[in-house]
Symmetry: D2
Subunit: 331 residues, 4 copies
């Protein structure tokens, strides 16, 4: 039984708390949030303890692991405290929006290793997972092209943008990870173009809301990503892997299997699931499964700090490319 | 080159005339209609002759074959005149709505045989044809169940009903033929239930507008047909063949391959093709191909008078069943 | 908190026990099975008590409700004991395979009423539920035709058939309930035809493995059901509701959203979910939710004993029809 | 009636000849090919004249228009001769692979204007056309992203590559035109990356077989193109237009509407149509319609020489980008 503290009682903390509470091999030891009311409410819902001081809890003996769902700028501190205390960490992406800080953090972790798993939850989506296994089984032959369509249902508040690190580090970072994972090979060159087509105010934050990316690997395989902060038809999450022996496409998940026919349309399906909490509910459960199993069974975590660092490097490269109109080469 | 006269300048006559005129191995020798203006207009469109007297034309030497698209009550007379004159016939369904007359006609034809092909055009739909070939190739194993969904976009004028022979002989007859063809075995028992759900006035014509049928063969395989004179989403034409080794479904054909996504629906396709002239345009062309090839190459026609008779027998049995609430056994 | 004993530690008992154990408003008070090892194993998995004597437990004070997942011939006795002890019951279908016994049981229950909910789990499938709500909202207008395709992945052991009550009472009964529910009106006439196409030995048990049914309501709306004990492509569960304003179709649920393209096929999806435990996992959870909420909140259960009785009447009528080749009228 | 000479009796000439011969407002005046046997065979099939000397025919009085389906390096000479003789031209893409020559040709044409229509046949595909009209009708709102997937079933012979102008000018050129057309705005920046993943020998011809492109317009809208010379599942032609009010996707066209279910797969559709002659058969017919109507009714042709020039400019820019790893700006 793994005793887990969930740090952060926001929407992502709620998801993790619920999953920990229901997990057969885990126990929700505490919910931690500087806002006591938030921590308390969430903890009581699951019959767990609560705290406002993560540092003390991490240093103590009542927990074995932390799940980090607090703001990005707290991640490194929490990871390093966990490492110091020998606690395992499941950390939401990104580790930080500053690659230099991430490098230092991972360097420090090498000296005092604890299991650190990055929360690239989409890898644990049953369909994405089946796709990855199909590629590994050779079903598409050699991968030639990967296409990732990833559009949010609506933009975050403008206030969110400042601390977000920008479109590439905040939103595309999931797709960079997905691209690396499906390509099965490191991208060596990244090109991006980006615009503000949803909301011109986004430009005032030096950010973008609509982007296209191309990545290339050493072997010449290619990956395209398209992003937009607003798709009126819902949270659009599609994958396509094209190879020498065929293609596998992962379509969107729907709330039901109904199709409607009337005098104006046929075969119409419902709007897509609202957003990531709904679309990836099962992924979060399976992600926690993987984390708990890795820690308890002393196996390698399936998504590492290095995976987090690589995705951030791609995001930084994309940002530079969008600003310079040149493909950026990764070393 | 087969010299063909098209009898009837109505909507079906127009389809056939156009196809004959464009056929590489046929020539539209004449368009015949008692209404001279109709015959003339259609004939001129295709640069052919026209006539008002079918009998004289059939008896004469200027044609090799007739395509019968005139009202049902003229079919037998035309077939018998053609037989007397040694002309081949492609006749729209049904031969007649009176099975006794059909029996006599086919009996007479046995004495003076000419090629007689029935216009069960749906057999020539590329998808239906591919389905039949897949069954023959063993792709579904032994056929266990066939399901035919066949709904019109809107009801015919009430005036049409009186001469139509009723829902089963006029509309379902296509599905009876399709059922026999896909089952690959004669139905020996028919049950039907029918209602007036579209228009209560239909009941005043002793007719129905909405029906369900079940047929059973000697080996125990089963076929379901559902019909309605009105589907607001368009001409609904679907097939399903379920067997010991799998299932093949034939979905509706669409005008385009577009799928639409907006804030209320996703994956929405267009309304179905309007009606049989649009849906089965290609089938009518391929039907004519088959007729021309059979006559010129002296091969058996692929849909016979007996096929027409069998479908009518099933329609009669269904009508009796709907009236008696008993399955009707075919001898 | 509703204290529930699950009676029966077989595959359906396992599903219910797990759902009860995880339910926020219920507690798994006991697992009961005459085979102690089975009860004990399942109980220990969920940290609950176990028992071999259901009667004693029902009469006692440690439980508020029972979920009946034991063999069909034990259902009435358990229901009546629960009624005598004032305990609520969620009972798997059918109540019994003998309609006379069911009538007496329901009559007895009227004298000493407790909440009795029938386990027609498919009503709680999110898509079926959305379909029912769409009909209620008028989306298809007046319902004209309902089509239910329901095929099992493979036949049960022959030994199972003897006690099952036969195809119509064991398998089709779910579809009879679904038909009634979607039609929104009682069928007044039933016709069925049935065969042994999967396994000829089934005929030796006076049973069938492949059937088609048509039901008709007083208003003339129609419902078709097709069943087979074996579909090699998996557990096939589809619904179609056709009305004056449109049609809604419920397609099969899949394990993933992947579509495959290779040199022989395109758009291929995976085999369907294996069987009802996988296909209706969510339905069983939602069914339990509905039961718990009804009992704790003192509301009417959404599926009643009368629903169970009606479905059985339709099954009996279908069996008679299949034997007599006549539609059977329900009084 | 427009008297048309088809120049070139190869596979594309055959398509055009057949369409001209069957066109109600056109007459196939001649088939021209330097290889007399090829010209003669094709001409005889359609009952037309044939010739080996295009120049003489163009200069003469027996034709009103030419359809140019001869090798690319003959296009400009034919266009200029037609202009000199006042004959209308429907020319296969590209006008030439050298943009300077194209510029001069179009400059010359301005002095002696005749109708010149470029054969970007995909614009006349019924689905692409419906998509363009839907965009124009505002169905997707403001266009933000266009995604074009365009993969050939198999690579051309290596010998073909030398004269082809390379992947971007030969294959992607259709997609550049489609992108411009669907964006409704000129791209101002092009980035491309390209590899030899199908056949390493392609690299020896300084060419590529697998590419990804991103284009950007002044307003910030974006277009992605992906190409490969080999898709084992057939000729893959898909479009996606994403805008502020929704998305419309154009899926692949199939030979039938069948879907197969067996023990290993479900919903499987057939392989895609083999290649452009099959996939775009209807487009070629509608393209000819548009050309004939424009010339006879003295309206502007719907695809101009300038459209041909713009697509070639984008191809040249993509090639430069692929070689320099920089986005190329168009003036």
């Amino acid at each position: 039984m793994l005793r887990i503290a969930v740090i952060g009682a926001g929407r992502i903390g709620k998801i993790h708390s619920g999953n920990v509470a229901r997990h057969p091999r885990a126990r929700l030891a505490a919910v931690v949030d500087p806002i006591e009311a938030a921590a308390k409410t969430l903890a009581q819902e699951h019959g767990s303890q609560w705290a406002t001081d993560a540092a003390a809890l991490i240093a103590g003996k009542e927990i074995d692991a932390i799940v980090v769902g607090s703001p990005t700028n707290t991640h490194i501190d929490l990871i390093e405290r966990a490492a110091a205390a020998g606690k395992a960490v499941l950390c939401e992406k990104p580790i930080d929006i500053d690659i230099a800080k991430v490098d230092r953090c991972l360097e420090n972790l090498r000296k005092k290793p604890v299991p650190l798993m990055l929360g690239f939850n989409r890898r644990f989506d049953p369909s994405a997972d089946a796709l990855k296994r199909a590629i590994a089984a050779g079903e598409v032959g050699t991968v030639r092209q990967v296409i990732i369509s990833s559009r949010d249902p609506g933009p975050p508040p403008l206030a969110y943008l400042a601390a977000s690190g920008g479109l590439f580090r905040d939103m595309t970072i999931h797709d960079f990870d997905m691209g690396r994972w499906l390509l099965g090979e490191e991208p060596i060159e990244v090109y991006a173009t980006a615009s503000c087509l949803v909301d011109p105010q986004v430009a005032q934050h030096n950010d973008y809301d609509t982007a296209m990316v191309i990545m290339r690997t050493a072997s010449g395989s290619q990956c395209h990503i398209n992003n937009c902060r607003q798709a009126v038809y819902g949270y659009d999450q599609r994958l396509e892997v094209f190879g020498s022996a065929g293609m596998i496409v992962n379509d969107n998940l729907r709330p039901t299997t109904l199709r409607r026919f009337d005098s104006s349309i046929t075969d119409a399906r419902e709007p897509l699931l609202n957003f990531f909490l709904e679309r990836y509910a099962e992924s979060y459960r399976r992600e926690l499964d993987a984390f708990v199993a890795a820690v308890l069974d002393q196996k390698a975590v399936p998504v590492t700090g290095e995976d987090g660092r690589r995705a951030l490097m791609l995001a930084d490269a994309a940002l530079e490319s969008a600003r310079t109109a040149k493909a950026v080469r990764l070393v």
